[in-house]
Subunit: 79 residues, 2 copies
């Protein structure tokens, strides 16, 4: 089974990397972009077909390793 | 208008970062994960409401800055 975990900065948390990308795009004359925020994704291949169990396992992975839940949100997409 | 750009490694391209995460998760006794591949997302706020124009602008941004199209694929989601 395939799953995708998306980790993004919480709103309000400064994102200097996103700001740098914004500036670089403006430098390339690609305009009309109001803001850029960068996040991470993890494409994960999971054993078994039990969606609920997979979601629990992925939530544990997020809480313990993939996301810093003080400043980041995570979303789990399965299927 | 909000858009999300997802940049992932092409299949066949080695992902040592993903492998390291896989190993770390195994070390935390979170098992049943067959493979992990890491990618990037960009949450972008765009001026205007013209979806086709926004998609063109984002494709240009991907080709010129956000993705290395030799080893990475990109996907644009608008709306």
């Amino acid at each position: 089974m395939k799953a995708r975990v998306i980790v993004t900065l919480k709103s309000g948390v400064l994102d200097p990397q996103g700001k740098a990308i914004e500036g670089a795009l403006r430098g390339l004359a690609i305009d009309g972009l109001k803001s850029v925020r960068q996040g991470k994704i993890f494409d994960i291949e999971i054993d078994g077909e039990d969606h609920a169990a997979a979601r629990r396992r992925l939530a544990e992975a997020c809480e313990r390793l993939l996301a810093n839940t003080i400043v980041e949100n995570y979303a789990i997409e399965i299927g």
